[in-house]
C-alpha cells in the first residue's frame, strides 16, 4: 500500500506548497481541473469495467445543487461538510439507477446515462425554486469555522481541492490495484469468464457506478464553491461530453493521468478561448484528434507503458 500512498501524499504536499507561487488565475484554473478531474476519475473507474457514462453531468449537477442548497437554505458553510454532502447526495441519486444500468453495456449504458442527465437538466430548467435556467449564486464557504476573504478563498479552495481530491486519488489507486480493481479490468475483457469464476459483473458495475457518482458529486460541489454559482448547464450533455473527452485523454491505467488530462484540457480550453474566441472548440477537437492518433491509450500510457517495459 505504501507504493500507492507515498507518491500521492508527496503530490498533495508539493501541489499545496505550489499554491504560494501560483497567480490567482492559475489557482482558479487548477481548482477547476481538480474538480472536473475527480468527475473524470469516476468515468475512468467505469471505463475500466468496459462501460462509459455519457451522463456524469447528472451527478456533477446533483452534487453541485445539493451543496448549493445546503449552503443557502440550511446554512451549512464548512467546506469539508459541503463537499461530503455533495458526494453523498450524488451517490444517493445514482444508487437506484445503478441496479438498472448495470444490466446494460456499450452504447446502451452510455445513452441511458445521457438520458438521465438530460432528464435532470429538463427538471432543473423548469424549476423556478432552483433559479430555473439562470441558476443561483452560492456563498463562499468557511474553512475550520473561519470565513474566507475574497483574496484568500481562491488559494484556500485550491488547497482544499488538492487535499480532498488527492486523498480520493490515493483511494482510487488502491482500488485499481485491488482484487476488485483487477476483476473490474477482467470484466472489460471477458465478462463471461468472470461470471463463470463466481463474481457478479453486474454487482461490480453497479458498485462502480455509485462510487463514480460519489466522485462526480464531490466534483460538482467543489466547482460550485469555486464558481460561487450553479445553473442547469452542470447537467447538460456538453458538460458530460467534456468529462468523457478528458477520460479518453487520460486513458484508464493511471490516476495521475486523469488530473494531468483534466489540467491540459482546462489549459487548452482557456488559451484557445483567449486566442481564438469563436473557434476554440476547433482547437479542442484538433487536440483530441492528436491525442487519439499518437496516444491511443491516453496520456497515462506515456509512463505506464515505460513502467511495464521495466517489469520482468
Amino acid at each position: 500500500m505504501r507504493r500507492q500512498v507515498l507518491p500521492g501524499v508527496a503530490a498533495i504536499v508539493l501541489l499545496s506548497a505550489a499554491s504560494f507561487l501560483m497567480p490567482r488565475w492559475l489557482l482558479f484554473l487548477s481548482t477547476m481541473a481538480l474538480s472536473h478531474g475527480v468527475v473524470v476519475l469516476g468515468i475512468v473507474l467505469l471505463m475500466r469495467g468496459g462501460v462509459v457514462s455519457f451522463g456524469q453531468g447528472l451527478v456533477f449537477a446533483a452534487g453541485g445543487y445539493a451543496t448549493a442548497l445546503a449552503s443557502n437554505r440550511l446554512g451549512i458553510t464548512d467546506v469539508f461538510a459541503l463537499l461530503a454532502l455533495g458526494g453523498l447526495a450524488a451517490a444517493a441519486i445514482t444508487a437506484p439507477f445503478a441496479v438498472l444500468l448495470s444490466r446494460y453495456r456499450a452504447i446502451f449504458f452510455a445513452m441511458l446515462t445521457l438520458a438521465l442527465s438530460m432528464v435532470l437538466y429538463g427538471v432543473l430548467v423548469k424549476t423556478e425554486a432552483l433559479g430555473g435556467s439562470d441558476g443561483f449564486n452560492v456563498a463562499k464557504p468557511t474553512l475550520f469555522g473561519r470565513a474566507l476573504g475574497p483574496d484568500e478563498s481562491a488559494q484556500a479552495l485550491y488547497v482544499v481541492g488538492v487535499v480532498v481530491v488527492g486523498v480520493l486519488g490515493i483511494a482510487a489507486r488502491i482500488w485499481f490495484d485491488s482484487t476488485r480493481g483487477l476483476v473490474t479490468l477482467a470484466i472489460r475483457q471477458n465478462e463471461l469468464r468472470v461470471e463463470y469464476l463466481g463474481a457478479s459483473a453486474r454487482r461490480i458495475i453497479a458498485g462502480d457506478f455509485v462510487v463514480a457518482g460519489f466522485l462526480g458529486g464531490i466534483g460538482g460541489a467543489l466547482t460550485v464553491l469555486s464558481l460561487g454559482h450553479i445553473d442547469p448547464n452542470f447537467s447538460f450533455w456538453t458538460t458530460s461530453g467534456e468529462f468523457v473527452f478528458a477520460a479518453i485523454l487520460a486513458g484508464h491505467h493511471s490516476v495521475a493521468a486523469v488530473f494531468v488530462a483534466s489540467f491540459l484540457l482546462e489549459m487548452v480550453r482557456s488559451f484557445s478561448n483567449l486566442y481564438f474566441p469563436n473557434t476554440w472548440q476547433l482547437a479542442l477537437g484538433v487536440f483530441l484528434l492528436a491525442v487519439i492518433r499518437f496516444l491511443p491509450d491516453g496520456v497515462g500510457s506515456l509512463w505506464t507503458r515505460r513502467r511495464k517495459r521495466r517489469q520482468p
Binding site: M1, I174, W175, D177, S178, T179, R180, G181, L182, V183, L185, A186, Q189, N190, L192, R193, V194, E195, Y196, L197, G198, A199, S200, I204, Q311, P312
Partner: protein, 247 residues
C-alpha cells in the same frame, strides 16, 4: 465411493428439440469421467445444467449432498464447481499471471478493494499453480500472445483456483495438434491430482480411452451407455451413433 454429483431424471427441451431426456448420471468422488456424443447429443446441455446456466425442466442435481437444481451459477461455483471452455475464455490483454489472479479473486464472489491483487502471497500461490501446469515461463506474457495449447492449459489452471470439488472440462484437447494432445493431457491429469473429480467432454476417442476411468455416451438427449471406457467404446449403439461404424 460416495457420489459427489448425482443428476437424476434431468429433462430439458428447447421448443421441439429435446436436449436432455431423463438423464441420470452418478459421479463418485475423485472419478475422471468422460462425456462423449456427437454434436447436439446433449453433453453441453448437461454441463450447463450442472453449472446452473440452464435450469432443467425436470429432475434434480445434487452436489455433495446439497440440492443445487435451482441454484444460480455463482452459488454453484461457490459450492465448488468449476469449468473450462472449448475456446479458452481468458482476459486477453492481461498476462497469464493476472488471469490466474483474476480467477483467484473471483472465487469468494466478492473481490475486495482493500485486498491488493498483487500481494506476495497471492502471487506466490498463482505462480505455484502456473508451475503445476508448466506455465511459469509464460507468466508475464499477454494471454493474446500465447499459443493455443498454452491458452488451453491456462484456461484449466484458472478453473482450478479455489480448489473446486468438481471440474468440468469442455474438450480440453480440441484445437491442439496430435503431437501435443497426449503431453497436454498428461500435464492436466498430473496437475489435477486424484482429489478433484473431473467430467470432461471429449470427441477424441484416443484421449477418452487413455484418460477416462468411466465414459458416459449421449445420443439425442439420452444416455445410451455408462460404463468403463472399453465397454462403452465396444457398445454397438455407441459405435453406431457416436464413434462411427468404422471403429
Amino acid at each position: 465411493m460416495t457420489a459427489l454429483l448425482s443428476a437424476r431424471g434431468l429433462k430439458k427441451s428447447f421448443g421441439a428439440v429435446v436436449a436432455a431426456d431423463d438423464v441420470t448420471i452418478e459421479v463418485p468422488q475423485g472419478a475422471r469421467v468422460s462425456l462423449i456424443g456427437s454434436n447436439g447429443a446433449g453433453k453441453t446441455t448437461f454441463v450447463n445444467m450442472v453449472t446452473g446456466y440452464l435450469k432443467p425442466d425436470g429432475g434434480s442435481i445434487v452436489l455433495a449432498g446439497e440440492d443445487v437444481t435451482r441454484r444460480s451459477p455463482r452459488e454453484i461455483t461457490r459450492l465448488g464447481v468449476a469449468r473450462s471452455f472449448q475456446i479458452p475464455q481468458l482476459a486477453l490483454e492481461m498476462d497469464a499471471l493476472d488471469n490466474v489472479l483474476v480467477a483467484a479473486s473471483c472465487r469468494t464472489g466478492h473481490p475486495s478493494f482493500l485486498q491488493p491483487a498483487h500481494a506476495s502471497d497471492r502471487v506466490d500461490a498463482a505462480m505455484a499453480l502456473l508451475q503445476r501446469f508448466g506455465l511459469a515461463e509464460h507468466a508475464h506474457r499477454r494471454a493474446a500472445e500465447l499459443p493455443g495449447g498454452v491458452r488451453k492449459l491456462l484456461d484449466i489452471a484458472m478453473a482450478l483456483t479455489g480448489s473446486p470439488k468438481l471440474l468440468l472440462l469442455d474438450e480440453p484437447t480440441s484445437g491442439v495438434s496430435a503431437e501435443e494432445k497426449f503431453p497436454m493431457m498428461d500435464t492436466i491429469v498430473e496437475a489435477l491430482g486424484s482429489e478433484v473429480t473431473v467430467l470432461f467432454v471429449e470427441h477424441d476417442m484416443e484421449i477418452v480411452n487413455r484418460y477416462a476411468q468411466r465414459v458416459v455416451a449421449f445420443y439425442s438427449g439420452r444416455v445410451i451407455a455408462d460404463d468403463e471406457p472399453s465397454a462403452v467404446l465396444a457398445d454397438p449403439q455407441v459405435q453406431r451413433y457416436v464413434t462411427g461404424s468404422s471403429r
